[in-house]
Symmetry: C2
Subunit: 202 residues, 2 copies
């Protein structure tokens, strides 16, 4: 990122690597020297890949997910069930759900969550587009998979109100104890929700 | 790195980011989405910086350090003392020594260490170039700053033999307890070396 013309290429590369989240000066040095000494071809690929992605990736016009197409692959896949819409906060959540579940409906990616204190209102997270989809499409169920945080919760409530206006059934992903966890180490709030939300044994 | 033409740009970027040491699938996802959503300009800089560095950075003809010039900035700096040569394993070590000390001599970067079992012999770490410098230049002292590992140690011995042939004084960086460490947590080998290498109080 540095425009410092006096810096040599290696120092500049190290500075530029530091723009990545989680990469500090030491890791950047290690990465730079590793690439220079062991994998120049891979690093050139990565360089081109970064530039191409930054130039061409935009938001899907239907679900706001990141894609280089007008309509992303999930939205344009006719084998998927367009009557179910799962609302998530970020593209990573789409990946996580795709990998973990056999969900075959569509997604809507807010690219954030409502946060009035930070000046993030309904338009900023695509609520206008979502409302239009609720009105114009045949949607039977909306699955709210925003994060289990205060903001994610508030965002889920907002969308559930929107959906009610169009008479669409809404569900929220379940709260409870994480699979593989031990009760001893789980916070009280989660245990309380898991207890009150207990389900009949099959 | 993936040549998979079927993958979309975002997935390809995530794959390509994984070539960096210490970056797995999850970190790559986080980095890709962060750059796409928050810092496209920075990511383009990084992309160009990677390509330029990979294309233009080579080894200094005098010290083998990485640089885009024929002779690196340290070697071509006339204010530095060319009669002292500090031998290190990698460019990171040069940076570390430059930042930690007020050393004003020159460096020689082996770009590795001797490791006969891995097929890394003297020529691979530039011993021929180093021997020529010992013969042709006026060098008074060689400081051996290879790593305190078995291979680093063996490499230091090899160079000290080379230097003896040209009647050059050799020194090895000191072993001892790390500054700020507590004896309780330091390994026996280090404590033994620190004890036997004890120095007179000034």
């Amino acid at each position: 990122m540095s425009g410092d013309a006096c810096k040599n290429l290696v120092d500049r590369l190290i500075d530029d690597l530091c723009i990545m989240p989680g990469i500090g000066q030491k890791s950047a040095q290690r990465i730079a020297f590793h690439l220079l000494q062991r994998d120049r071809e891979g690093a050139r690929y990565l360089g081109r890949s970064l530039i191409t992605a930054m130039d061409e990736v935009k938001n899907c016009r239907s679900c706001r997910n990141l894609t280089e197409d007008e309509i992303c692959r999930i939205c344009s896949d006719e084998r998927r069930d367009s009557s179910v819409l799962c609302v998530v906060e970020s593209p990573i959540d789409v990946m996580a759900l795709e990998q973990a579940t056999d969900y075959r409906g569509l997604f809507f990616v807010l690219m954030g969550h409502l946060s009035p204190l930070d000046g993030i209102g309904p338009e900023d997270v695509g609520m206008d587009l979502l409302a239009r989809r609720f009105e114009n499409e045949v949607i039977k169920e909306v699955i709210l998979a925003t994060n289990p945080t205060v903001e994610g919760e508030a965002t889920a409530f907002y969308i559930s109100d929107l959906a009610k206006e169009s008479d669409i059934r809404c569900s929220r992903i379940a709260y409870g104890v994480p699979v593989g966890g031990e009760l001893e180490y789980i916070d009280k709030g989660t245990i309380a929700r898991a207890f009150s939300g207990r389900q009949k044994m099959p």
